[in-house]
């Protein structure tokens, strides 16, 4: 379970995320929805521990990680899929996965073999440099890399950005499967339809503040969805 209490993030003097507080249970998926610039990426990077200007409490499965640097958080249960299908471009597909392999004592242990089963398109590319992959392939690789850490909590930043509908579908299916293994997922998305299909709850953020948290079923065509995302 992921618990975030009173996360505040500042970039220098500008205060960008205000008192972000959520709980994501085991096997639960929380969608974080908001417009461009609302603070989704900043919130996720703050939880991962990558921002010097972040304060607040982050715990995973009852373990307080607040004082830990990002590398320790991501080694011990948090996994981060950054936006833009970010990979180590000068490393091979294989190396991109191996570099993230952390056991974490989890019962479902992810291996490269399981990643190939999940994304069969990646296996024949395993000796290619990640920089030469297509956007969709790199997105799969970014998700695969996160899984290799056997996370208990996954934080995904717009994983479907720029993907073909079939791939969006398969990411959705994957997230559903991950939920059933007990992973807690926080998913920031612009694609609210996809997000709300797999989410249990949705948190709407506006100008760095959570303005409403709703069960996904109710969020789907709520007033707040229309107002905040302008749909």
């Amino acid at each position: 379970m992921l618990k975030v209490e009173g996360l505040n993030v500042r970039y220098g003097k500008s205060h960008v995320v205000f008192d972000f507080t959520v709980e994501v249970g085991d096997g639960e998926l929380l969608a974080v929805l908001g417009r461009n610039g609302a603070g989704k990426t900043t919130t996720i990077r703050g939880i991962v521990g990558l921002l010097a200007g972040a304060s607040g409490k982050v715990s995973v499965g009852g373990r307080d990680m607040s004082a830990w640097p990002a590398h320790r958080r991501t080694r011990e249960g948090l996994a981060y899929v950054p936006s833009g299908a970010r990979c180590f471009q000068n490393l091979t597909v294989d190396e991109n996965l191996e570099i993230a392999a952390h056991a974490n004592g989890a019962d479902h242990s992810w291996t490269k073999k399981r990643i190939w089963e999940l994304f069969p398109k990646l296996e024949p590319l395993k000796n290619n440099l990640a920089g030469g992959l297509s956007g969709g392939e790199r997105q799969m690789l970014a998700v695969g890399r996160a899984l290799m850490g056997n996370p208990r909590v996954m934080l995904l930043d717009e994983p479907t950005e720029g993907l073909a509908p079939v791939l969006v579908q398969s990411i959705g299916t994957l997230l559903g499967t991950l939920k059933s293994t007990g992973v807690s997922i926080l998913l920031a998305e612009q694609n609210h339809q996809m997000a709300l299909r797999v989410a249990d709850r949705a948190a709407f953020i506006e100008k760095g503040r959570v303005v409403e948290v709703l069960p996904a079923a109710r969020a789907r065509d709520s007033e707040v969805l229309h107002r905040i995302l302008g749909v």
């Binding site: 640097p69 990002a70 590398h71 991501t74 970010r86 190396e95 570099i99 993230a100």
Partner: protein
């Protein structure tokens, strides 16, 4: 020039290239991963040369050199670790000028310390591998061949470290995206220290290996830094293959430049003419990656 002479000077060029490569590889490795040009790199080389000479002369010929080499590499590696933690960590991500000033300050401190500890006199040490070989009518110091062999072994070692170990994979990942590496469970802060210690150790290895082949004085720090810098610019900062090719070019230019009477006074100038030409035609160097 007779074929025998050609061979003689080519071997001289190779011997130059050998120690220059060891030094330049360290400079380049550090720049590639940390994006910092270490102005104190030559200082570490000088410390190692002095430590090696002193220990080798204390302990005695042969074994003394190898003991000196081990101590020198350990000492320079340790200095590197301290410098990384105390100085470099404060300048990462700052503008290049601040970084240059920071490491330049370190080089001044080290140069001062070397003069206090070892004095201003030139020192020499007997070669641990004495003797000469005869090739094509000319005799070669066996030690030069050892230097060439050592550089090849070190090049292979650095390559294997980078492409065959987890440490090397992490270093390459840090070159591309340190932020993502941190978020992938790798302690980048510690990795940077490790890289800098390896780079410092390579400077030390270069200084130790060069010691029996030339007189060691308190200005060899800048002499070697300038050449290592030219090599890195020619080959491409951050590229180990670039360091090797750059070292060969510079080593040969110096060797042939010095022996041809007409070019003798300008041998070093040629190095910088080539450097300037490369900078003009291909600013990132022959094998360098474009800066991101």
């Amino acid at each position: 020039m007779t074929p025998g002479q050609l061979l003689l000077f080519a071997m001289g060029g190779l011997a130059n290239a050998a120690y220059l490569f060891i030094v330049a590889a360290g400079l380049s490795l550090v720049f590639g991963a940390l994006r910092v040009i270490n102005m104190a790199h030559g200082s570490l080389y000088m410390v190692a040369a002095f430590v090696t000479v002193v220990i080798a002369n204390q302990v005695g010929a042969g074994l003394g050199f190898w003991a000196g080499l081990l101590v020198a590499v350990a000492v320079t590696g340790a200095i590197g670790g301290v410098v990384e933690v105390l100085v470099l960590r404060r300048v990462y991500g700052r503008e290049h000028l601040v970084q240059l000033l920071g490491t330049y300050a370190v080089s001044l401190v080290v140069a001062g310390a070397v003069r206090i500890v070892f004095g201003a006199n030139y020192r020499t040490v007997a070669s641990p591998i004495p003797g000469h070989l005869n090739l094509g009518g000319y005799s070669y110091a066996s030690y030069s061949l050892f230097m060439i062999a050592a550089a090849i072994v070190i090049a292979a070692g650095v390559w294997a470290m980078l492409y065959r170990t987890n440490l090397g994979r992490n270093i390459r990942a840090a070159v591309a995206d340190p932020d993502l590496l941190n978020a992938t469970g790798v302690n980048v802060t510690r990795l940077y220290t490790t890289v800098f210690v390896i780079g410092a150790g390579l400077a030390g290895l270069g200084g130790s290996i060069v010691a029996p082949s030339q007189a060691i004085g308190s200005s060899i720090d800048t002499d070697v830094l300038v050449l290592a810098f030219a090599i890195s610019v020619i080959g491409g900062l951050g590229s180990i293959i670039g360091s090797a090719v750059g070292s060969l070019i510079v080593g040969m230019v110096i060797s042939f430049g010095l022996v041809i009477p007409a070019t003798n006074p300008f041998a070093l100038a040629f190095v910088f003419i080539i450097m300037t030409a490369v900078l003009t035609v291909r600013p990132r160097g022959l094998f360098g990656l474009p800066e991101n």
